[in-house]
Symmetry: D3
């Protein structure tokens, strides 16, 4: 099989991470997985939501959204429709859970980090790009709190990166763009820590159900992809 | 490890399926996984949503919800709050995708089956009980359409069942009740076809990230549980 | 006139009350008026809404809702539509007022009892079944508070039961199922205390306006029906 | 007992009906029951809602609302809160049902009359003033349709008027202003046709439950009040 | 050019201000610009919104709305639609800003004045009538606070009035009714203080863009109109 | 007076226009006024909204919004709040009106151009940057329709640009960043055509009311600024 963009089955798209793309946010980056482009921003504020006050623990939350013209056809704004759609809700929850898996709330102290992932352009893999970029914004926001003397320890217990894998025409492939995504029999998003453990595994049979061998092949690709993304994250954060 | 309710790690809770619990729905059942109790109802109507008209294809959709007093503490109604919460959205989408994986839309013809899964009482595993019960309601609604002469073939390509697995105190366990669920390091919901393939795999590290061995152990438990649920579904549908 | 189900004009449908149908609620019952089936649940919690704090008085509130497939044709969920419909609002208010008429707020102390009446299956008379069942849940929740030592006296000043009456083909009848309800010229819901006084009288001319004689005939039927329901409530609560 | 405003127990407040208070509406009036002031407007348009098309039948609908500063303390706007409250819903439905009881849909033809009752100032009895005034607007809108040649017969089968009655300090009284309303043990709204039959009877025990004698006393007062309102309606419409 | 209603280009419609049209509001008036009729009401309450507490400063806020049958064709209620429309939002903000320009918050002390402008009938110029009438209600509410001893000085720094101007058939005209408004090439709303300074200038090219000469001609007309409205306001407030 | 960023009073901030920043939209640009950064995207689709069908006329619409972390403090998402705020509504309407002033609907034919202006970073002047950038996106979308052969003539009757002006410390200044905006006594947004006529003039006294001389000074600055922006637009479109 030849992929339309000429990549090998186990090859990521070109990844670009532009740190501190925003002036006001305590952490931010513009992350690109090929033509997918997500703006990730983290605000760090003192205090926690009411239900967590006095616990000594911090909080991390995330919201994912897509601009109306990020996709091929303009989609109506959720603010104008007056409600958040199911897909948006689901991905926001996924991003939040993934980041929280990398945080020690005690070390964070009673501070809140709110992360926004806004998809400026979508070409497949927006949720995995969002998680990978959100980690950069989170790390910068944590560093900001550290400089302010607001931390009680080191809140980041690991790094977090994510990638999509799938089976297209019977072939397991890594990091699917839109044209592959719509044709995939199975689509899986995998979130992993920097040391190669799983944080989230979400596989869905789009066409036919899949067996254990196919699952294992996809997980192996995901592990390779996440390891490469982890290296890119480390490089971006060391600049 | 001894489980609080005395079960073996690979043992399901007592499962009860009461078919045709409702008079009006074309298919329905009250399904119980231990104290978790979900009312599943399927309506079968001619025609499909506007965006699918003229395609010759049918449609299957699902909604999941929880009664306010299903849980330990009363939770506010989503209708009164004026919006569907993220968790509800996410599970409704999961139930719908799982059922659609078992359907041949061409054979269904331009008919719509709408499935409602309402949790009357929650004690862990509500989404997996919902999927397992929804399949019963779906099968009865399909049979109803068959008796009406409205089908173009056999729309059910397989059966679908679901179960939760997790790691509690380092031990992989099957079908977690609430008390285990809140303590689990990892929580995974697995949806499988009657012939043992995967439809959905959704694993989440609640505490610590998990490795491939733990993932494999959970998947093996899930396969055992889904096989047993499949047998119970067949028995219920043969009555 | 012969009623379709063979009942005498002044005869109730078979009434079933299954107390403590739920594990978590402080009071609950599944009540059936023929094929109408309503799940009533009462939560009792310390404290009152903000506007009532410090008054020394308790609060009782109620919400009524219907599952989508309770009726002959599936109706869309109010949570998905994003608003509570007029009928739901109206009945929730009626149930709440009816129960509050049986409560001494001073004796209840600053505690709140929230009652949910969810119609699992509808065949006419859902609001009156809801009120009659809600009283059982309320009484059990009050008893629970008593066992907790949270009461300042006996909050239940009377019992409350409700029934529908109507005029069908010129004949006053008691406890109308759906087939009679849609044909009724006049429809009336009557809520009464256990000692035979009126709490709510809501009569509506669906077809032709009604005169005082017809009104009196309906009220007499309602008094008979409510007395029988009161006896059934007492029996259920004494078990 | 002496009423605060010096009226006899069976005496209405001063009633004023200013017909055609608006230029655009096909029928309108400003109706005053003492200091209660309601603006009623009726629009008559060709066609009926989608679900009624082709039936040959017309439709009448009503909405009730209150301006924020109609009451003693400013209440927030329902448009700003983003939802219609339960009380508003309930009264809108009551007004609509009451007017529909006076309409022959076949004679109306496929035309829709939409009636708005906006309370400009509230001093008790706003829903009964709304119904009484809405009938005037309805009659003028029907007359407008008649002049347009859009009717298939005479749609008005009777007139409709409404009044509140209650028991205050043990004394049945007619047409309660706010100061009496808040003290009433029982509050009842009665809608009657011009020939003295009941359209709606809605009695609520606010304090103590009431017996048949009290109910009868209130109904007698209501009949007297509605008869007087009917006469005032006729006079207004004959001008 | 002859205007349809016979006015000179620089002539206002007949203006009527009926002060204290409501009993409960601390200030109110019914203001009429020809057939445009707006009910303005001001409530004065102790305290300020949370975000302003402890600042020593007061707050003035305004809401504008239109009754469904104020216009030629009935428009749906925003409360029923569940959201405030863009036009309503825009005008509410304009009215609020205009009034706040006339207020010294320090002198007002920590009190809030909330002004509601409800259009009972619309015939062009509703927002300018609303502002002109709202000032009357504001002045009366301020006077009420003064009588209560709740002020720390004189909060009214000037009076505020507003009028529309436009270019119709190439001719600058003052105070446009609906028939002129829909034909205007340019439409401008001007809010001025009693001493002839600008508070708001909002000009919009409806058809063709306009040049500086046209702008100056419209501003001159607006100054004349606002001066006359200021005189009418003073007269009304001196009664 | 020296401006904080060293500009002359009549000097624009550095303006950058990056055309075709998006792959899917028919027209797009990232426009920067100093640190204010707005992503403008235009979709061109066949057909018009239902109310305009069969008219032969096209339609242009616009929506403005701000990302949560565009401002100094994160602001909650309007989609999550479930409603569009007043400021957003007001600016969306302004952008739409401004663009529609440059369009000949007959030449556009029954096509719709929908423009989205999303503020990625805010530092004052977001609405004027949005209008200036939206014109670029509009022009490219029109050109796209031209290449598709979908136009009936040349729909662009002029170009449109916008700039803010204000009075800060008594000095009229052009193109205010946030630090000047919050201190301005008067703030005015001016939209002009490429040939120097006014499309919108919106001036607001934030502190003190302003007189005709001040208004004239601001308008002169705006004319200079808009002329320069027009030149930059032409240059960008000619690349």
């Amino acid at each position: 099989m030849t992929r339309e963009d000429g990549r090998a089955p186990d090859q990521l798209r070109p990844i670009t991470i532009t740190r501190q793309w925003l002036d006001h946010a305590q952490g931010s980056c513009l992350i690109e997985f090929g033509r997918t482009r997500v703006l990730c921003a983290a605000s760090a504020t003192e205090g926690v939501p009411r239900w967590r006050k006095g616990s000594g623990l911090g909080w991390v939350t995330a919201e994912y959204a897509m601009l109306p013209q990020a996709t091929h056809e303009r989609s109506p704004r959720e603010s104008v429709k007056g409600k958040v759609g199911g897909r948006t809700h689901e991905i926001s929850r996924l991003v939040g859970r993934s980041l929280r898996a990398a945080i020690d709330y005690t070390a964070l102290g009673e501070n809140t980090i709110a992360i926004d992932c806004d998809v400026l352009q979508a070409d497949g893999g927006t949720r995995t790009a969002a998680i990978t970029g959100a980690y950069i914004a989170l790390a910068d926001a944590v560093a900001h709190l550290g400089r302010e003397g607001a931390l009680l320890g080191e809140p980041l217990t690991s790094s977090v990166a994510a990638v999509s894998v799938g089976i297209v025409d019977g072939q397991p492939v890594l990091d699917l763009p839109y044209v592959e995504d719509v044709r995939a029999e199975t689509d899986m998003n995998v979130v992993m820590t920097g040391d190669g453990k799983f944080v989230e595994v979400q596989g869905t049979a789009e066409g036919a159900a899949f067996d254990k061998n196919e699952l294992d092949a996809m997980l192996a690709l995901a592990a390779k992809g996440c390891a490469e993304l982890t290296a890119l994250q480390q490089e971006a954060l060391s600049r």
